[in-house]
């Protein structure tokens, strides 16, 4: 197990390195010129040049990458003379458009996205899994049909539509949110009620989409597992149906959901662009979209992209470890 962990960890580290290098490379070869884009109104060639230097884009991409990596470990200095300042490690760079170390921006945005992801995750997992189990148990009965209808509506509604409809025709129309506070970050530790009110509609929108997938997935897994020989064995032993479902069917049927859920959750941690946009949530998704569309803020773009990838990669690792914990076959085989 330890050896397995060590191997997985080193592989993960390698993938993270590769991903960050590719992201760097991809954004470096594109014909966008952040120096020109952020150079302001009085832009001339020398100003663009100075700007390029200020942004650290006047050196080859591998040097930029080297600085980036170094900054992650020891921090980074920006500016010159009396205007110089330091971003402490882990420094993802400095956003000249927002006058902040990117790490600070990310650290401010992360709790928002985390709240969004966790709440939506809990909601969709509980709704999706319980509906899926219900539908499987009541196969072909009205409960199953209702769950199927829910699944279909959920999967057929792109989030931008459900988000807008819920925002415009429910939340705003019936004054269910305080519009001026809409999307404002409130820590759940300080004001749990306000936090809940901020996130409930975004949670619903995201959960609507994901819960449908999970209902479908759970339903078919439970049905499939129910036909397994070992379920028949459990029944032949004389176990009652409740225990069979709880101990035998669900354990096996829900294990694959861990993989799915882990990756979906990690994907959300990278930022839910559309939902955050519609509900005004200052999370990672809005941070990155703003960086792209408003001012092409390269350090922020790089940081959020790499971070989103790292979330998925790390989730992959965690899911595998968790799976090994749950499924003894994986544990020993590895």
């Amino acid at each position: 197990m330890l050896k397995y962990l060590a191997r997985r960890l080193s592989a993960t580290f390698l993938v993270i390195t590769l991903v960050s290098m590719s992201v760097f490379g991809i954004f470096a070869v594109l014909p966008m010129d952040p120096a020109a884009l952020t150079c302001g109104k009085a832009c001339s060639a020398p100003v663009i040049e100075a700007n390029r230097h200020r942004l650290g884009l006047d050196v080859p991409v591998q040097v930029q990458y080297g600085r980036f990596v170094k900054g992650l470990f020891v921090g980074r200095d920006f500016g010159e003379g009396a205007a110089a300042f330091h971003c402490p490690a882990p420094a993802f760079g400095y956003s000249f458009n927002r006058h902040e170390c990117v790490t600070t921006l990310v650290a401010e945005a992360f709790p928002v996205t985390l709240s969004l992801a966790v709440g939506a995750f809990v909601l969709w997992l509980s709704v999706g899994v319980s509906l899926g189990i219900l539908a499987a148990r009541k196969k072909n009965e009205w409960q199953d049909r209702a769950a199927t209808a829910f699944v279909l509506i959920g999967t057929s509604l792109p989030t931008f539509i459900s988000g807008i409809l819920i925002l415009l025709f429910v939340a705003l129309k019936f004054n269910l949110i305080n519009p001026i506070e809409m999307g404002r970050w409130v820590s759940p530790l300080e004001d749990p009620v306000a936090w809940f009110r901020t996130f409930i509609f975004p949670w619903i929108v995201l959960a609507l989409l994901y819960a449908a997938t999970y209902t479908r997935f759970t339903r078919s897994n439970v049905i499939e597992t129910s036909t397994e020989d070992y379920i028949r064995t459990a029944r032949a032993k004389g176990l009652n149906e409740r225990d069979i479902l709880r101990k035998h069917t669900l354990r096996a049927a829900l294990a694959p959901i861990i993989t799915l859920a882990g990756l979906d959750f990690a994907g959300l941690l990278g930022g839910a662009i559309i939902t955050e946009g519609i509900f005004n949530l200052p999370g990672l998704g809005r941070l990155s979209i703003r960086a792209v569309l408003r001012d092409y803020d390269l350090p922020t773009i790089l940081a959020t992209t790499i971070l989103a990838a790292v979330f998925v990669i790390v989730a992959n690792l965690l899911v595998d470890i968790l799976y090994a914990y749950i499924d003894p076959r994986v544990r020993v085989a590895s």
Partner: protein, 344 residues
């Protein structure tokens, strides 16, 4: 036989409604089996062997199955008809009064739980006592079924066991609560030939040890010879022949039984005779043909007068209670047929 039967099955029918029609999987099945007795049920796959025993165990989904008839378990407290009894009543019989082991030991154990865990779970259903007591009993049972180093292996997981070992575990699990009836559904089919006989041997020992009624389901008549007291031969959902093991072996009454016997090799005769497979496919259980359902595959049907096979389904000939069959073929022709097909 004068033993009081432990299980009495009377006119059992099992049918599954499907989109294509009603599948009549078990058709008018009656048999008995007593404690200490071994009943072998033989037939091709799909002949209704498993369906019948699953019905006895109450393992069919009642919503999707039509079951009629009766199956009495003669318990000390009095007989119970498991077909008409409540689900909950039948559930409490499973594992205790009757147990079952299945064909494929590879998939019959839950992959996520340790062997010990699964055994203890079965044990604790009918026994008071803490986990340690359950574990002690589990190790004891594993020892009994011949798992070496049981006290250590009890904590291992199914995938760490070989097929034969898993089947031993299954047997240990089925017997952990001293059942009166064990149904072994093709317990050796999925195993290596060398292991097969060990497992059979084990089942037989266990039967003696626990004085159980044993129903051994198999498609392999060869297996039956050494262990069975009685044999039921099933075809297309019906019992086509029933009798003592010797009767079936040496005096098979039904062309299908004859065919089955011909399809197994006999020790010492390996080279002298070709094995003969029964031609054709079994009929659809949805639209059973009129007349004898084996007719199409029977090489002797032309010897029956008046095309009787095509028009009338043969009934069980119950002239003796020990050996009977569903066949129109006269006794004289039978003797001939036995001879022609290999001189049994």
């Amino acid at each position: 036989m004068t033993l009081k039967p432990f299980l009495e099955v009377k006119n059992l029918n099992v049918a599954f409604p499907t989109e294509d029609g009603l599948v009549q999987a078990s058709n008018d099945i009656s048999f008995t089996v007593a404690r200490g007795e071994t009943l072998a049920v033989v037939g091709e796959s799909g002949s209704g062997k498993s369906v019948t025993s699953l019905a006895v165990m109450g393992l069919h989904d009642r919503k999707r199955t039509q079951i009629t008839g009766q199956a009495f378990l003669n318990l000390d407290s009095g007989p119970i008809d498991v077909i008409s009894a409540d689900d909950e009543v039948v559930r409490k019989l499973r594992g205790k009064a009757m147990s079952m082991i299945f064909q494929d030991p590879m998939s019959a154990l839950h992959p996520y739980y340790s062997i010990g865990n699964q055994l203890i779970e079965a044990w604790s259903l009918y026994n008071e006592g803490d986990k340690a007591a359950g574990k002690k009993r589990a190790i004891e049972m594993l020892d009994l079924v011949g798992i070496p180093d049981a006290s250590k292996r009890v904590d291992e997981f199914p995938h760490q066991f070989s097929g034969g070992m898993r089947q031993r575990v299954m047997i240990a699990m089925a017997l952990i609560n001293n059942p009166s009836l064990l149904i072994a559904d093709e317990p050796t089919t999925a195993l290596d030939v060398t292991v097969q006989s060990q497992i059979l041997q084990l089942i037989r020992e266990m039967q003696k040890e626990f004085n159980m009624a044993l129903i051994l389901i198999t498609h392999d008549l060869g297996v039956v010879a050494e262990v069975a007291d009685r044999v039921n031969v099933m075809y297309a959902g019906k019992i086509v022949e029933s009798g003592g093991a010797e009767d079936i072996y040496y005096r098979p009454d039904h062309p299908y039984s004859i065919g089955l016997l011909n399809s197994i090799p006999k020790i010492g005769e390996l080279d002298s005779r070709r094995l003969v497979a029964i031609p054709g496919q079994p009929p659809s259980l949805i639209h059973l043909p009129q007349g004898c359902s084996f007719r199409a595959r029977c090489s002797f049907s032309d010897r029956v007068a008046n095309k009787l096979c095509a028009t009338t389904a043969p009934t069980l000939d119950t002239k003796t209670t020990e050996h009977f069959s569903r066949c129109h073929l006269p006794e004289s022709e039978l003797v001939k047929a036995r001879k022609e097909s290999g001189g049994i």
